[in-house]
Symmetry: C2
Subunit: 162 residues, 2 copies
């Protein structure tokens, strides 16, 4: 099972997390000949601020604060970057929250299962073979052809159960 739950749920040097993600993103974009522009990179870093998902307007606000006092970053700018990052699989959208979170293993072929903690707001991503098998089975039984899936599990992360 592929998961970043260890990192998502425990104290760690998150700057290294961000840097690692950024490096992966750069390599991946380089590889694919797509441009990770300064704005896209800034949006990416903003989303990677924590292991909690951010809404589009959270990103707008954070980026406006971070930039020079004069300049406002406006929604369309952010949404464009979000669109790009989603296309490249560098971030995910959490439909049940209208929010976005960094993908811990971009480029690898994985289906997305998210564990959303309702207490601390953390989100971990997992990819489990047997879960995908179960989804495939469910679909097969009804002759449904799966193309994509949204699996978001809400509950309590290990840290918030005590």
């Amino acid at each position: 099972m592929l998961t970043n739950s260890r990192l998502a749920y425990h104290q760690h040097d998150h700057k290294r997390c961000i840097n690692a993600a950024l490096n992966r993103a750069r390599l991946l974009c380089d590889d694919r000949q797509v441009r990770l522009t300064p704005i896209r990179e800034a949006v990416f870093k903003t989303i990677w601020t924590s292991h909690r998902p951010l809404g589009a307007y959270d990103i707008v606000d954070k980026m406006t604060l971070a930039s020079s006092p004069v300049k406002r970053i406006l929604p369309p700018t952010v949404y464009r970057s979000i669109e790009f990052l989603l296309e490249q699989g560098l971030i995910h959208r959490l439909a049940s929250l209208n929010a976005y979170i960094g993908c811990p293993f971009p480029g690898s072929d994985h289906n997305d299962v998210f564990l959303i903690c309702r207490a601390c707001g953390s989100v971990a991503e997992c990819s489990a073979e047997y879960l995908n098998t179960a989804i495939a089975q469910t679909a097969t039984r009804t002759n449904f052809k799966v193309e994509s899936q949204v699996v978001e599990i809400v509950g309590l992360c290990p840290e918030c159960q005590s």
Copy 2:
């Protein structure tokens, strides 16, 4: 496996579908001593118009058209009914679509898995034991305590694969 895929995907006398759903809803509300008022019932019927999910404003528009030409049904009214129907488990919200659909088996204990056809827009609901088991397993492995889940599968229904 509990599913309404047969009905969702094939021609059938949908009026009977609606009536059956309405009867179930009435019994259930009666049982629970909650009030299925005329407005709530109207919203419920509107959502049950088809096996396709409706957005809140679709419901507003449909109901406004259906009622006398003078009277406008306004969003808060509809949202209140939606809230009530969700609480009673009579309808479901599809997070990935911001839309609502009638529950074919309210009252029964079931986890929700939705099969959303991207071609015709139909949605079928399934409850599969092994899928829930798989979700439970995934959670257990990461010590995550599941409280609720959103599983929405997008693809092609049997009718739209040809």
